[in-house]
């Protein structure tokens, strides 16, 4: 049977992409971030996941507001690297897991009544790729895991509630556990933490809120799932509302917290938290 072996909550700041591509990870401004992922990568090489389900949001690379899904699941053999307006990064194509995607779609729709949009093509971008870069270093032509994109609307209100995102994670856990193959899965909840990228409040961060969010995510996710979009946006900035995707990860993984880190050098609180399933 399938098994969730771990969950990772982490930020997906776009500037990390070029830092990886240009080999700048050891510069003083970036080293603290990348150092935090050394033990996470060791942990992942021990867990040996076969598939990463990456809960992320597209930033206008492949989805536009003409048709904008609330939850969209990739159901494909592979996923192209998207161009979000700054050029296509030199990364290998992402290999999917078609059988697991089909199983997730059937289980989530028939048994758990999450009516997902199903996509045979998704070009993935920084929301998906930066977390992959941080956790799963790629070779010239491959990634060490297969991956499935799960795109969530966190940019055009009305967004799904935090509780709905949490319930989706719980449903993903059940769906993975009924998958007939012996597949080990990690779930990544990406985005946030505190940041606001527009208006006079551009650059707003709130470390106290971010640390509280990670405390609650570990100790009382069911309670945290009651948080409103308003409260996240008021305290942590309008774009911080991406954090609801961390609740999907947390819904999917039970077990002990392993790593935790926080670094906020510029305009985004970059958090990291992991749980072993």
């Amino acid at each position: 049977m399938g098994r969730i072996v771990g969950g990772i909550g982490l930020s997906h700041v776009p500037s990390i992409g070029p830092v990886v591509d240009r080999n700048r990870t050891q510069e003083p401004a970036w080293k603290p971030l990348f150092d935090a992922y050394v033990p996470v990568r060791d942990w992942l090489s021990r867990l040996k996941p076969d598939v990463a389900i990456v809960v992320y949001n597209d930033h206008g690379a492949d989805f536009t507001f003409d048709q904008y899904p609330t939850f969209a699941l990739g159901v494909a053999e592979d996923y192209a690297i998207g161009d979000e307006g700054f050029g296509t990064r030199p990364l290998p194509q992402v290999k999917g897991d078609l059988d697991l995607s089909i199983h997730l779609a059937e289980s989530l729709i028939y048994e758990h009544e999450f009516d997902l949009t199903l996509c045979q093509e998704i070009a993935v971008e920084h929301g998906f790729l930066v977390p992959m870069n941080l956790c799963f270093p790629h070779s010239a032509n491959d990634w060490p895991v297969r991956a499935i994109p799960l795109q969530v609307n966190v940019i055009q209100h009305p967004l799904p509630t935090a509780r709905r995102c949490y319930r989706l994670g719980q449903a993903i856990r059940n769906a993975v556990e009924s998958f007939p193959a012996q597949t080990k899965v990690v779930v990544m909840g990406t985005g946030g933490m505190s940041h606001q990228l527009q208006g006079k409040r551009f650059g707003h961060m709130n470390e106290k809120f971010d640390q509280w969010f990670m405390d609650q995510l570990e100790a009382d996710p069911e309670g945290l799932a009651g948080i409103t979009h308003q409260r996240i946006m008021e305290e942590a900035g309008a774009e911080a509302v991406e954090l609801i995707m961390w609740l999907t990860m947390r819904g999917a993984v039970r077990g002990q917290r392993v790593h935790r880190h926080y670094y906020a050098p510029m305009t985004t609180g970059m958090g990291l938290i992991t749980f072993e399933g």
Binding site: F65, I155, F202, T228, H229, Q230, R231
Partner: protein, 117 residues
């Protein structure tokens, strides 16, 4: 559970369906900039490029003047605006400084580690 979006937040745009509807022409123009050929077209002849998306004169002016706060107020989504920034040589932090009413240097001075960019 409280209301998900209960009211305005000072100095903050909440991108909802009403704003998205208002900005639909602008956001379609931004989406086109995800193609290298379209970015070249913008750089080659900006007026001809922006003429293709049915923008109002006021919307065109926002692009011509690089009025980033105006674009947000007109319903351009922040992540779509980054594509306009990129094609016009304005990074996120330059746009942010302008929206805060600061110079780039003033803005960087408010950051903990201004080199993390």
């Amino acid at each position: 559970m409280g209301r998900q979006v209960a009211g305005p937040i000072p100095h903050t745009s909440i991108f909802d369906l009403r704003l998205s509807q208002r900005g639909r022409r602008l956001n379609r123009m931004c989406a086109a900039l995800c193609s290298p050929a379209e970015r070249d077209a913008f750089k080659r002849d900006e007026e001809a490029f922006i003429a293709r998306f049915g923008l109002t004169e006021a919307e065109k002016d926002l692009i011509r003047k690089r009025d980033f706060q105006g674009m947000i107020d007109a319903g351009m989504n922040i992540y779509f605006m980054l594509k306009v920034g990129s094609v016009t040589g304005n990074g996120l932090y330059q746009m942010g400084a302008k929206m805060r009413g600061e110079t780039y240097e003033q803005f960087l001075a408010t950051r903990k580690i201004g080199d993390a960019r």
